[in-house]
């Protein structure tokens, strides 16, 4: 995807978010009519977001037009499917880790998470696994025993 197109789409997302905010403010804020009340600052943010994103959309369309007229090769956003897929998988594993952490506690969930992540990253030296496991135990002692965080 070209950077200008990315800019256009992201501006549209911001515009949609500004509109969403404007619509939801009366639902989630007690409105004090005619006063600078709790609703005013969120309303200002919604308006600001909408105006700025519209300005950015207009500027980006002009930029796309001039790029087409001048036959300029547009700058491209770095996007490699395999890389993005890896980021997604890591986030999914991490989210799953958080859910398991909540259910069975820190120690076992983190040992499983560490093994899964390092295996996924193709770490094959058993010594590195051992270093990680020791680090997990040290973290557990530090947080649970010394700082009294319920893990």
């Amino acid at each position: 995807m070209s950077k200008t197109k990315g800019q256009l789409y992201s501006s549209m997302v911001f515009l949609a978010f500004g509109i969403f905010l404007w619509i939801t403010i009366p639902m989630y804020v007690i409105v004090e009519i005619g006063k600078f009340g709790p609703q005013t600052f969120p309303q200002f943010i919604a308006i600001g977001m909408m105006l700025l994103s519209i300005a950015q959309i207009i500027a980006t369309i002009q930029q796309i037009k001039s790029e087409t007229l001048e036959n300029k090769a547009p700058e491209v956003i770095q996007f490699e499917l395999s890389n993005e897929l890896r980021v997604l998988i890591v986030m999914l594993i991490s989210t799953a880790y958080c859910v398991v952490f909540d259910a069975i506690g820190f120690l076992i969930s983190t040992l499983v998470y560490a093994t899964a992540m390092m295996f996924y990253f193709e770490v094959r030296k058993w010594r590195l696994y051992l270093v990680f496991y020791v680090a997990i135990f040290l973290l557990y002692i530090l947080f649970a025993k010394l700082m009294h965080v319920p893990l």
């Binding site: 804020v29 709790p38 994103s53 952490f101 990253f121 700082m147 965080v149």
Partner: protein, 494 residues
């Protein structure tokens, strides 16, 4: 006597220990390409929960100063700066290393960092109390105008396209409105989620935006090995050989201090600025020698980047305004310990303030000692593969956001902010304005509304008070200057 009490607190075993732990962690994090001192502070922040205020702050300062210096290690040995602040160091540092002078380049980087760091700490000691004495007279209108100035300048200088910085800022402002309204006490924008009633907590947001997003980005190149490091051999570089460049050291420190005290800038800008000035004004080397392994280039860049460390604390401690991402995270650390930075801090907690200021001198001295004694250890730690480090740092982030209040909800907030940060960076939106807006949002709104209550609803209160008017004028200029520049440029073309 305050000075003796302060020294007693700093020289306690606990403070000295955490200072050194912070410096060591900072050097390692700073040296690892892709990991920044901001991320280091965000990750280590939760360790300060159970600590007393002063050792906790010493740990953070250690990470900060160590992190800025640590970037030079991989910049010199690998040509890959550990932090953006060390990019200028790589120009001559790597060339020196290639010519077999890695030891001299690393020693110059360490000694120059020490000089820059100490002079910057001195500037903090001299300027901060004076500025706080002026700022103590600020009322709600002045504070609102100051927050407005902070938000506009950071949004405008942190990216090429100002609208992107402002949109990121608005996103942060929105996050700051979630929770209880600061004036009326009504619940607001919680979307029916009861955990949002206390608002978005700063620590999970910071860890998400600065650490998780960076780690997500790092996983993309996890299988790409770190390039081949040039072998380090110990070489001597006497102090007289360093002080031969005293003019460059002083000018670069001054650049670091001025840039550091200016919101929205940072160590990377100061090091390039100082490098270019040294290049054009050097009396010891010809301009052509810079870029070919000139030791003065390393001195200039490293003095200037560590020269910002004390100066960035000036607006933070005196006005409560973070000037960059690192000080935004530091502000989070202070808030977590129940400290609200601002001019009143100098009256209410002078002992703590002077511990921070004088502690910075000690941190720089320990940074020098560790850099001198353990450089080989740091170089070896950097060789630990990213495939091990990234999951370990992920665990620290998750644990850190959980430990803040023992709530899993905060962990999910961290992951959500990490995802948002990753997407923003992907589409060239800066993350720093968003963080600063989260920090300043509530302060901005409450001061705006208090001012309007004082004036009976008239906005003229902001224009009739000179300091408030000054900040508003600067904010307007900051906002519209790029637009005026663009229109002028178009006229010239036509």
């Amino acid at each position: 006597m305050l000075i003796f009490e302060v020294l007693q607190s700093i020289i306690s075993l606990e403070s000295l220990l955490f200072m050194n732990v912070g410096v060591a962690a900072g050097i390692v994090i700073g040296a690892l390409p892709g990991l920044t001192p901001t991320m280091g502070i965000a990750i280590l922040l939760p360790l300060t929960f159970g600590m007393a205020k002063i050792p906790g702050m010493m740990l953070m300062l250690g990470v900060y100063c160590g992190g800025i210096y640590g970037g030079s290690i991989t910049a010199i040995l690998l040509r890959t700066p550990g932090t953006p602040a060390a990019a200028a160091t790589a120009i001559d540092g790597f060339e020196m290393a290639r010519q077999g002078n890695a030891g001299r380049a690393l020693t110059m980087a360490l000694k120059a960092s020490l000089v820059g760091g100490l002079l910057s700490a001195l500037s903090l000691l001299l300027v901060a109390p004076q500025l706080a004495a002026v700022a103590i007279r600020f009322g709600p209108p002045e504070y609102f105008a100051l927050c407005l100035f902070g938000l506009t300048i950071i949004s405008s200088v942190s990216t090429n396209l100002m609208t992107k910085g402002l949109l990121a800022g608005f996103l942060g402002l929105f996050a700051s409105t979630i929770g209880i309204d600061p004036i009326s006490g009504y619940e607001r924008m919680t979307f029916g989620i009861w955990q949002f009633q206390i608002g978005i907590k700063l620590i999970p947001a910071l860890i998400g935006l600065f650490a998780i997003s960076e780690l997500m980005d790092k996983t993309k190149n996890i299988k790409v090995p770190l390039g081949k490091m040039i072998e380090y051999k110990k070489q001597l570089l006497a102090w007289w050989e360093v002080l031969k460049y005293w003019k460059t050291l002083l000018v670069s420190s001054a650049i670091g201090i001025v840039v550091g005290a200016t919101p929205g800038t940072g160590a990377a800008i100061s090091s390039f600025l100082a490098y270019n000035i040294a290049k054009t004004t050097s009396k010891h080397h010809k301009i052509e020698e810079f870029g070919e392994g000139c030791i003065e280039g390393v001195a200039a860049a490293e003095t200037a980047n560590n020269g910002v460390t004390g100066a960035t604390l000036i607006p933070l401690l005196t006005l409560g305004i973070p000037g960059d991402s690192i000080t935004a995270v530091l502000l989070g650390a202070l808030m977590m310990q129940g400290i609200t930075p601002g001019p009143r801090l100098f009256i209410q907690q002078p002992h703590w303030v002077y511990c921070v200021i004088l502690g910075l001198f000690f941190v720089n001295l320990f940074m020098y000692a560790q850099g001198k004694l353990f450089i080989r250890v740091f170089i070896n730690v950097v060789k630990v593969p990213a495939a091990v480090l990234v999951p370990m740092l992920f665990v620290l982030c998750i644990l850190g956001s959980y430990a803040a209040s023992s709530l899993m909800f905060d962990v999910y907030v961290t992951l959500a902010f990490g995802f948002v940060g990753y997407i923003l960076i992907k589409f060239d939106y800066p993350v720093t304005p968003m963080v600063i807006a989260i920090v300043l949002g509530s302060l901005t709104e409450s001061n705006l509304r208090r001012s309007l209550i004082i004036s009976g609803g008239s906005i003229f209160i902001f224009f009739t008070r000179p300091i408030s008017l000054l900040f508003i004028i600067i904010s307007i200029i900051t906002l519209f200057y790029p637009l005026v520049k663009k229109i002028r440029a178009k006229k010239v073309v036509n």
